[in-house]
């Protein structure tokens, strides 16, 4: 566990409900975590597990019909649960920045890069255009964009995807936020670019001493940058803990299934079969009972249908939600790291 010293964000039992025609959809069903300055939390899970909604919930950007509840939602020590749109708007961009998955469409095509960068700064800092411009150039330089000054006059469509994501990162950093949330920042990019961007993010995070929440489905990324890992499945945390702990000894069948899906340099033999997690994510509408992973779990028994989803916490903070005891999972299915 981290030293609880400078906690930036505390989330306790975050739930999101969305009414749909078939009933009430529960995409997020009680997520808790905290993240401190200088720390990177990775939220991992496959599509539809609620990880992106979690990030939007923190930013206050959920769709209007979504209902957000939490036992605690503290940001920089302040309870932001009841913040209205105006109050949230004062936090966003200045105290918390966000980087999205799709750099190709996340920039407004009608305005220049410079305009879009400067407007954050002008909005939140009482400053003039000149300072905003200097800050923009400084940050573009910082995110590795050459000849930053001339880039300011360019429109998004004149830039490549990688460059646009760098611009997005610069934009999130314009006001020096305390928290940065990156929602699959590299998914849409070429593999070669992915590494650069990730490296850049990690570097900037330590440079600016921010807290970072990195949302991804790519465990490879997690292994490289995370301090803490949170594995989500069907709207709940199924396993969380220090990066090393989780990777060394995954305790939830889902985590171990995910880990089997990635090749590990030096450990995965050529020709060796990579694993998969068969099946699909269950329907999250209506009243839900038991372990949601049971229909895909090789260890599932009838017991799992009734199971309360309460986590088992080990002494190092490593927690998981499964009826299995820590040693019951076959060693061969996990722990290859």
């Amino acid at each position: 566990m981290s030293e609880k010293k400078d906690v930036v964000l505390e989330v306790d039992n975050l739930r999101i409900d969305i009414p749909v025609s078939a009933g009430l959809l529960h995409p997020v069903r009680g997520i808790s975590f905290d993240v401190s300055r200088g720390e990177t939390l990775c939220i991992v899970g496959e599509s539809g597990c609620g990880k992106s909604l979690t990030s939007l919930a923190i930013m206050g950007l959920l769709p209007k019909n979504a209902d957000r509840q939490a036992d605690r939602l503290n940001f920089l020590g302040k309870d932001i649960r009841d913040f209205d749109e105006r109050q949230m708007a004062k936090l966003r961009g200045v105290k918390m920045g966000m980087i999205f998955q799709e750099p190709m469409t996340s920039l407004n095509p009608s305005y220049t890069i410079g305009n879009q960068l400067e407007e954050v700064y002008l909005r939140h800092m009482s400053s003039n255009r000149l300072e905003a411009r200097e800050r923009a150039i400084f940050l573009l330089d910082k995110v590795g964009i050459s000849s930053a000054g001339s880039r300011l006059g360019q429109y998004p469509h004149q830039l490549s995807g990688g460059l646009r994501q760098r611009v997005m990162i610069a934009m999130a950093l314009m006001c020096g936020p305390d928290l940065i949330i990156a929602d699959e920042p590299t998914t849409a990019l070429d593999v070669t670019i992915q590494a650069q961007i990730l490296h850049l993010l990690a570097e900037l995070q330590s440079d600016f001493d921010m807290a970072m929440v990195l949302i991804t489905h790519d465990l490879g990324i997690v292994a490289r940058v995370a301090d803490k890992v949170q594995v989500m499945y069907a709207g709940r945390t199924v396993e969380e803990g220090n990066c090393e702990a989780v990777f060394d000894k995954p305790l939830h069948p889902y985590t171990s299934g995910l880990l089997r899906c990635i090749p590990v340099p030096g450990k995965t033999q050529p020709g060796e079969k990579l694993g998969t997690v068969p099946g699909v994510v269950p329907n999250l509408v209506g009243d839900l009972n038991g372990c949601m992973f049971r229909n895909r779990c090789e260890f599932a028994t009838d017991e799992c249908k009734e199971l309360a989803e309460t986590p088992t916490v080990l002494e190092n903070g490593h927690a998981y939600t499964c009826r299995l005891k820590p040693d019951e999972m076959e060693p061969s299915t996990g722990g290859r790291l």
Binding site: T105, S106, N108, P109, S110, Y111, V120
Partner: protein, 305 residues
């Protein structure tokens, strides 16, 4: 951009050429201008003389080329009926039609953009349903019928508004509403659809994540992008409205070129009809050209295409 503009201009000219050719042949199918010119009491010899004098005995192609070459010099001939130069007749009346068309399109935009935007911001809300109602009703309401109903109610019954003529701004209120309402549904639907799409776009999410004020998100980031197709459509509709002005001007006794074209058709006054068709077509062509160029300016991606 320059090449794009030039290409568009050449195409525009070609279109006008074809339109003028079609109109010319159509109108010469319809009537024997010699009869119209010669008048009520003319004898056969008079008619024959007129035919020779005006060259109506020549092949249509030759007549067309002659007409076109004079039209290009700004001479559309003389009205068969009123004996006045067509250019003079039209220039004295076009102002009324332009005023009406302009007011109507402004009215349509003033109604449809805010309403479409509000509807898009709150889909399925009361205001969205109200907007939909206006759109659905507007599309189904025959313009002339709507105009007559307004005359009965606001002109005769309540006497709030003057019924005919063009002397004061009040005279334009009913014609503007009648004509503008006709364009409102299309513009509003497009605003709404565009706004919904834009509001759900990633860059609006980015703008919100940047903590921009809702006003800035809406006006700076959303509206500008959503409005691009609306501007294009409004230009097209302005062209349609000139056509719609025929009925409206006749009902409200606005003596613009819409009425003039109606009057000319009743009298088989071909030079006037041809000139007005060409003017309407030019308007359409020029407006679409301008709106394309404006779009290229508003949305820098277009000129690259």
């Amino acid at each position: 951009m320059l090449a794009y503009t030039l290409k568009r201009i050449v195409v525009a000219f070609l279109i006008l050429l074809v339109v003028s050719g079609l109109t010319f042949s159509l109108s010469h199918l319809s009537a024997d201008p010699a009869l119209t010119i010669a008048g009520e009491q003319a004898s056969d010899e008079d008619i024959e003389a007129v035919r020779k004098l005006y060259g109506f005995d020549r092949p249509v192609i030759e007549q067309y080329v002659n007409w076109l070459s004079r039209a290009l010099q700004g001479d559309f001939g003389k009205s068969y009926h009123y004996k006045a130069p067509v250019v003079e007749m039209i220039s004295g009346r076009i102002g009324t039609t332009m005023t009406l068309g302009f007011l109507a399109i402004v009215f349509a935009l003033v109604i449809s953009i805010p309403l479409g935007t509000l509807a898009a911001m709150r889909p399925n809300s009361i205001i969205d349903r109200f907007a939909l109602l206006i759109a659905v009703f507007g599309q189904a309401l025959p313009t002339f019928w709507f105009a007559l109903m307004m005359i009965i109610l606001f002109g005769v019954w309540f006497r709030w508004l003057p019924i005919s003529g063009n002397t004061t701004w009040a005279h334009f209120v009913m014609p503007t509403i009648a004509l503008g309402y006709y364009a409102t549904p299309a513009l509003m639907r497009l605003t709404r659809a565009g706004m919904i799409e834009v509001l759900s776009s990633d860059y609006i999410r980015t703008a919100k994540a940047k903590g921009l004020s809702p006003v800035s998100v809406l006006f700076k980031h959303a509206l500008r992008n959503a409005i691009i197709p609306v501007v294009a459509l409004a230009a097209v509709w302005f062209g349609f409205m000139l056509g719609g002005s025929i009925v409206i001007e006749t009902i409200f006794n606005l003596k613009g070129i819409g009425w003039l074209s109606y009057d000319a058709l009743l009298r088989s006054d071909l030079p006037v009809v041809q000139a007005i068709v060409l003017i309407f077509a030019s308007f359409y062509v020029i407006l679409t050209l301008l709106s394309d160029l404006l779009n290229a300016y508003l949305d820098p991606r277009i000129s690259v295409r």
